[in-house]
């Protein structure tokens, strides 16, 4: 009796993954993400300090702004002195830098990659395009506001922002992390249905599970 | 002691017969070659047993039982040759009957037409 009840609850927790063909549903996890609360204040403070000193950035140049990330790595700007390092896989990265305009095709990949990052995870949105569409405000396939699709921690305005602006943005992010304000990971989970609705509204061929673990 | 001429004749016939068997394509001629060779063999046999100036080993009015040993040639080859002739005849007969059958089946007397079995 009790077991049955548990099963029911568990089933409610599952994602429908309706857009996947029948035989592929077994190949994707269908669990719903859940929020993970922070530890107690002091321990979390220590961890946040470490997190802020070791920002691993997902090397995924989604738009033209990715060009501005390259100088950041060079000896002139040298992001490594802030503990920022590029990581080639979202599994290991903690910061997602959206490099400017995001087309519908790209936003699908952005969502996948963002969901595959292990929290706590942070998003820096680069350039005007991510804020309000920028010069692509009337394009038929470029989104206008990134924060309707994934939670954004820091916006860096400009078209394009210079590397200095990027460093400033990263510093801002660090401050926010240390202040414990970067809970985008939990925010995404809490407003999961809303985000999904927004995403699905523009991504028409949703051939992936509802949450990409 | 033995009759050299007949021996040479026999060997010659034998060789002629074998030559005929080896070179003639016609089945009949091959059988004829065989017969010649057979005959050559018989002559060789007889000539080996032949002693000059003696008579055939047949005990009749001419040769009495008592002096047969002195007067007749070695009787054994002659006896052998009789058997051999019979046997040769039989073989020839079987060969000819084969040829008849073969001709009935294949309408050919050339030995070259009977070589589908090989390798």
């Amino acid at each position: 009796m009790n077991k049955k009840h548990n099963d029911e609850i568990e089933n409610q927790m599952k994602l429908a993954n309706e857009s996947l063909p029948e035989r592929e549903r077994a190949l994707f996890a269908d669990e719903r993400p859940s929020t993970v609360e922070a530890f107690n204040k002091y321990y979390e403070g220590f961890l946040n300090w470490a997190r802020s000193r070791s920002l691993w950035m997902l090397a995924f140049g989604t738009g033209c702004g990715a060009t501005e990330l390259r100088p950041l790595m060079t000896s002139r700007y040298d992001m490594s002195r802030y503990g920022i390092a590029p990581r080639p896989t979202p599994r290991q990265a903690s910061v997602f830098v959206i490099g400017g305009y995001a087309s519908i095709k790209t936003i699908k990949r952005i969502v996948r990659s963002y969901e595959q990052m292990q929290g706590p995870k942070y998003v820096i949105a680069l350039g005007s395009c991510t804020i309000n569409g920028g010069m692509y405000f009337d394009s038929y396939n470029t989104i206008n506001r990134l924060d309707y699709y994934i939670p954004v921690d820091v916006y860096i305005a400009g078209c394009m922002p210079r590397p200095e602006a990027l460093i400033a943005g990263f510093n801002r992010l660090k401050e926010k992390i240390r202040a414990g304000e970067c809970e985008g990971m939990n925010l995404y989970v809490e407003k999961f249905d809303w985000y999904k609705e927004n995403q699905k509204q523009i991504i028409k061929d949703w051939n992936m599970p509802d949450y990409n673990w | 002691m033995i009759s050299l001429y007949t021996l040479i004749l026999g060997i010659a016939l034998l060789l002629i017969g074998i030559y005929a068997m080896l070179t003639r394509k016609n089945l009949m001629k091959i059988v004829i070659g065989f017969s010649i060779a057979d005959t050559g063999t018989h002559i060789i046999i007889v000539s080996l047993g032949y002693l000059r100036g003696k008579t055939a080993p047949v005990i009749d009015a001419a040769v009495s039982v008592s002096n047969a040993v002195r007067e007749v040639v070695d009787p054994v080859p002659s006896a052998l040759v009789l058997t051999a002739i019979v046997i040769g005849l039989a073989v020839t007969a079987v060969m000819l009957s084969f040829i008849v059958e073969m001709y009935k089946k294949n309408k050919s007397l050339s030995i070259d037409d009977y070589q589908e079995l090989k390798w």
């Binding site: 077994a26 994707f28 992936m208 | 091959i30 057979d38 080996l48 052998l80 046997i87 073989v91 009977y114």
Partner: protein, 1040 residues
């Protein structure tokens, strides 16, 4: 006591009366006909009994009341009686076989048949050479006429060619008779002596003997005979091939005492040449009866050669060789010709139809095995003794030719057999069920062959029933073959256990006990996996038991012959087991060819060995034997073939892969160890009596190269079983290399590795068998992700590959530690370097095995797959327990192995508590295990504490460059996994050896095809061959 002359009289008189009987009805004539034939057999049987058992003196019949030489006399001794008994028996059986033909055909064929029989009897018994000619002609003419029993163009033309050849030969024979008479003055063999023919008189003997010899169809003057064999009715052919040849051969045997030794040598050589070439040409032959013709001619050549080359040896042995070969030829060839007549398919490729008739297939196999000289049939014993004779008389060229010729014969016979068992015959018309009159003679001869072989065995072994046990096992299982497979499995398991129990007290040496554990205990555990069989598995357990018992018998074999007998039983049974695999036709044939080649070498090697002085088991008594160098070399090669060393390994992967999946563990884990056992035997002999040339140095190198080559090739396999097979090859290479060191540590490591290999390779093969059972594929790239579906199997494979790779703490490391220490101590540094490389490469194939099957992406079709059945899991975990035990407590095995090796060398290791110390280093397996457990536990706990909220995800939840995977197939990295390695070092993995052997095969077939072009099919060409043959023989003999 009925005089044998009645055979002639009765045959002749009844023959003439038959046409009269026939008037009264075919029933009467047939009754008379068969009664005469039966009477002949009975009479000869009676005489044989009297002469052989009651030792009645040779019976002489003087015709016409005179004594020889005046009259013609007939003699009947043991030899004559034996030949005639068998000839008459075959004649009777052939007549039974021809019953339908005789009932419907003309009465003349009955008459001719009786005449033929009479000719045969007369030819054998007569002592008068002209009489011999007469009987020969009677025989020939009746045979000529009988060839057209089935009258068509082929038989007619073949018969005509036969007549030309026979006619010319008999012409020369007649000439010879007369010349002999001319020189000897008598026609009676009993009154001739060899010294009557000197100088030109030799021509007489030459003509006499060479024409008889031509009647025995020597190469190349034998085209006519082949045509006859191919075309004429099987019943008659069996008579021509067996009865006629026997009689003519016996006639030749009778005149042999007259011939000078130069003649005899030439005839013997001609016989060998015939044997060699006809078998080589047989390779290319596709027509069943013509193939049998080639084989017959070859066998006659061998028989003649054995007649010649055994002159002057002990009569008992001589009779054994000649009698064995003759009996073997007679029984199996007659049987095979009859089966060929029943099957009616001309192409051997179409003989799959034989599968409709299982008993006939069994008989067919029986005859093929007999003909190939496999035990327990008569040919085996004859061949063994013949080889010994040839070795003793230092006729190495003859020996080589005989063995190569035999191998050729075996190749085409077994190819035929595998075709009959495996070749697709679905499109062919199924074979009609043969009548009783046809099946009876075949069965009778089959049973007779079995009885004779059993008799031979008894005469060799008396009451040593253990050696016969493999055969008994087959017979027993055949009796209960209708039981369900599981019952038979349990019975077999019990049988193996009982055998082990019985064997245990006989294993007096430690080394025997050690291999006993590998062979018997290993087999018993492996046997559990066969219990999963669902279908009837007819015959399977019989062959399996045969193999297992042969393994055990190897251990206790106390003479070379016993060892070799068990070895051949093992080969035969494993061949039959491999052949059961679905596509195993090619693989099993290759296995058989290589094994037999190896067996021949072993046979030769043992023939060179001096006699044993002790009656203890060979493995124990061999140390007192001073083997000559040639024995070492030949035996080493022979055993290395069995253990799959590089160069002769190509049978190994095929056989392992194509055998049924529960047979493969036996082959890999246990059969290969038989080769190791053989090498160890050799090593023991080497320790006490080392030859001047360091054979084992090179064996060591071969082992090392085998290890690296096997590892490389395993890395590039796509087939799981082939991968494991090459891995076995590599591992056995290690063992061989370690054995070859001939040091204490080397042997300890070799035996350790052998034991270890037995366990992990059994476990791996059984695991793969379980996987195959579920997935129905062996291609690794078609699997993947099975860890979630088959976790138990995964565990086995994981543990086993750790044990293979030599990673501590499992037992594999012990082997590595021992072997490298041994190598460095021995001073084989570069070899050790190569082995290090091999061990590095082994990681490649091991990872490939486990990754492509268990890790990565699960395929759609395997989503619902189940764990392997328990019958597969149980033995795996028994082996796993063994691995864990000796990993945890290496002393369990090191100590006994130390004791074994100490028997031959001074110990080079000390065991201090749980630490094993060598000259160079030390190793404490127990402590390593504990440390490993501890260091494993620390990060594990650390991970559990720190890992946060962990979500278990599924196979497609991967980072795929921000995409989602398309399908499991395209996401799984498996096919050509080491492409980069292939790119850089792939030339090392090219199948060069395979190519070499392919070209050897190609060349022998091409040569066969080239030589058989002499048989143009033209009667005149055949005649020319005969004439030229006579000329050449004259030149050869005259020259001497």
């Amino acid at each position: 006591m009925v005089s044998p002359i009645y055979i002639l009289i009765l045959s002749l008189s009844v023959g003439f009366l038959l046409s009269i009987f026939d008037r009264a009805g075919r029933k009467f004539s047939l009754t008379a006909f068969y009664s005469v034939l039966t009477f002949n057999v009975a009479l000869m049987g009676d005489w044989l009994y009297r002469l052989a058992v009651l030792h009645v003196p040779t019976f002489v019949i003087n015709t016409a009341g005179f004594n020889a030489p005046v009259s013609i006399n007939l003699e009947l001794g043991v030899a004559e009686a034996l030949v005639l008994f068998l000839a008459n028996l075959t004649g009777l059986m052939a007549a039974v076989y021809l019953f339908d033909k005789f009932r419907e055909g003309k009465v003349s064929s009955l008459i001719l048949y009786l005449l033929l029989v009479m000719g045969v009897n007369g030819l054998v018994m007569t002592q008068d050479i002209f009489n011999m000619f007469v009987f020969l002609e009677i025989l020939s003419i009746s045979t000529f006429a009988l060839t057209t029993l089935k009258k068509n163009l082929k038989t007619l033309s073949a018969g005509f060619k036969y007549m030309i050849a026979g006619g010319v030969a008999s012409t020369f024979f007649l000439l010879g008779v007369v010349f002999v008479y001319y020189f000897a003055g008598t026609l009676n063999l009993g009154f001739m002596t060899a010294d009557q023919f000197s100088g030109i008189g030799l021509i007489a003997l030459f003509l006499l003997s060479v024409s008889l010899f031509i009647e025995l169809k020597p190469f190349p003057a034998n085209g006519w005979a082949l045509d006859v064999y191919q075309s004429v009715d099987s019943g008659i052919v069996s008579v021509i091939a067996v009865v006629n040849s026997a009689a003519i051969g016996f006639a030749f045997y009778k005149i042999m005492p007259l011939l000078p030794s130069s003649f005899l040598t030439a005839f013997g050589m001609a016989g060998i040449v015939t044997f060699f070439f006809s078998n080589m040409m047989g390779l290319k032959q596709e027509n069943a009866k013509r193939l049998l013709g080639y084989s017959s001619i070859g066998q006659m050549g061998l028989l003649l050669a054995s007649l010649v080359f055994t002159i002057g040896i002990e009569p008992a042995v001589r009779y054994l060789i000649i009698g064995g070969l003759f009996l073997n030829h007679l029984l199996s060839k007659a049987g095979l010709f009859w089966i060929a007549g029943i099957v009616k398919e001309e192409k051997i490729r179409n003989w799959g139809v034989l599968r409709n008739n299982k008993p006939l297939l069994v008989l067919f196999g029986l005859f093929i095995f007999a003909l190939s000289g496999l035990p327990p049939f008569a040919g085996f014993w004859a061949k063994w003794e013949f080889v010994k004779v040839l070795v003793d008389s230092k006729m190495f060229f003859v020996l080589g030719t005989v063995l190569v010729g035999s191998l050729f014969e075996l190749i085409f016979l077994f190819r035929w057999f595998t075709m009959a068992v495996k070749e697709n015959a679905d499109e062919l018309e199924p074979m009609a069920s043969p009548g009783f009159s046809r099946i009876f003679p075949v069965s009778f001869f089959g049973i007779l062959a079995a009885v004779v072989s059993f008799g031979a065995m008894r005469c060799f072994y008396g009451s040593n029933w253990l050696q016969v046990l493999p055969v008994i096992a087959v017979l027993f299982i055949t009796l209960i073959d209708s039981l369900p497979s599981k019952v038979k499995g349990f019975i077999s398991l019990a049988a193996v256990a009982g055998y082990g129990y019985y064997l245990y007290p006989l294993l007096t040496g430690n080394i025997q006990l050690f291999f006993g554990v590998i062979f018997i205990a290993g087999s018993a555990v492996n046997l559990i996996s066969t219990l999963n069989r669902k279908n009837q598995s007819k015959g399977f357990y019989g062959f399996l038991l045969m193999m297992i018992f042969s393994f055990g018998n190897l251990l206790i074999a106390s003479t070379y012959l016993e060892f070799f007998l068990s070895w051949e039983f093992m080969t035969l049974s494993s061949f039959l087991l491999i052949l059961r695999g679905q596509n195993a036709q090619r693989a099993s044939l290759m296995y058989m060819i290589f094994s037999t080649a190896g067996a021949y070498l072993i046979m030769v090697g043992f023939s060179f060995a001096p006699a044993l002085s002790s009656t203890a088991a060979l493995i124990l008594s061999i140390q007192d034997v001073n083997l000559p160098l040639i024995s070492f070399i030949v035996l080493a090669i022979g055993f290395m073939i069995k253990s799959g060393s590089v160069g002769v390994h190509i049978w190994l992967p095929e056989a392992h892969a194509e055998a049924e999946s529960d047979v493969s563990p036996f082959i890999s884990a246990i059969l290969l160890k038989a080769g190791v056992f053989g090498l160890l035997l050799l090593g023991i002999a080497y320790v006490s009596n080392a030859p001047s040339f360091d054979v084992f140095y090179w064996v060591g190198w071969i082992g090392v190269i085998t290890a690296i080559a096997g590892a490389f090739m395993a890395s590039f396999q796509e087939d799981a079983k082939k991968l494991l097979a090459y891995s076995s090859m590599s591992q056995v290479g290690y063992i061989v290399a370690a054995l070859a060191m001939i040091t204490h540590l080397g042997w300890v490591s070799a035996l350790y590795l052998a034991f270890n290999h037995m366990m992990f390779k059994s476990a791996l093969f059984i695991a793969v068998a379980g996987i195959y059972y579920r997935t129905r594929t062996r291609k690794m790239y078609e699997m993947g992700g099975l860890i979630s579906r088959m976790p138990w199997t995964y565990m086995t494979v994981l543990m086993s590959i750790i044990a293979v790779s030599g990673v501590p703490p499992l037992s594999g490391f012990g082997a590595k530690w021992l072997i490298y220490t041994a190598f460095i101590t021995k001073g084989w540094y570069l070899q050790a370097g190569v082995l290090f490389f091999a061990s590095g490469v082994s990681f490649l194939y091991l990872y490939r095995l486990i990754h492509t099957i268990f890790l990565g992406q699960l395929k759609y079709e395997h989503q619902e797959i189940k764990e392997a059945p328990a019958w597969f899991i149980i033995p795996q975990y028994i082996f796993l327990a063994g691995i864990m035990a000796i990993s945890m407590f290496p002393n369990l095995i090191i100590k006994p192995l130390n004791a074994i090796a100490m028997h031959y060398f001074d110990s080079s290791i000390q065991i201090d508590g749980l630490t094993v110390m060598s000259e160079l280093g030390y190793w404490n397996g127990n402590l390593v295990m504990y440390v490993t457990m501890a260091v494993f536990a620390i990060p594990f706990i650390m991970l559990l504490l720190l890992k946060g909220k962990t979500q278990k995800v599924k196979q497609f939840n991967i980072v795929y460059a921000a995409e989602r995977p398309e399908s499991p197939q395209t996401t799984h990295v498996a096919h050509n996994m080491y492409a980069h390695l292939r790119k850089s070092l792939g030339s090392l993995s090219l199948p060069r050896v395979q190519e070499f052997w392919n070209s050897v095969a190609e060349w022998s077939h091409t040569l066969g095809a080239f030589f058989r072009r002499v048989y143009t099919g033209n009667g005149q060409t055949y005649l020319l061959h005969i004439i030229l043959y006579i000329v050449v023989m004259y030149a050869v003999m005259g020259g001497q």
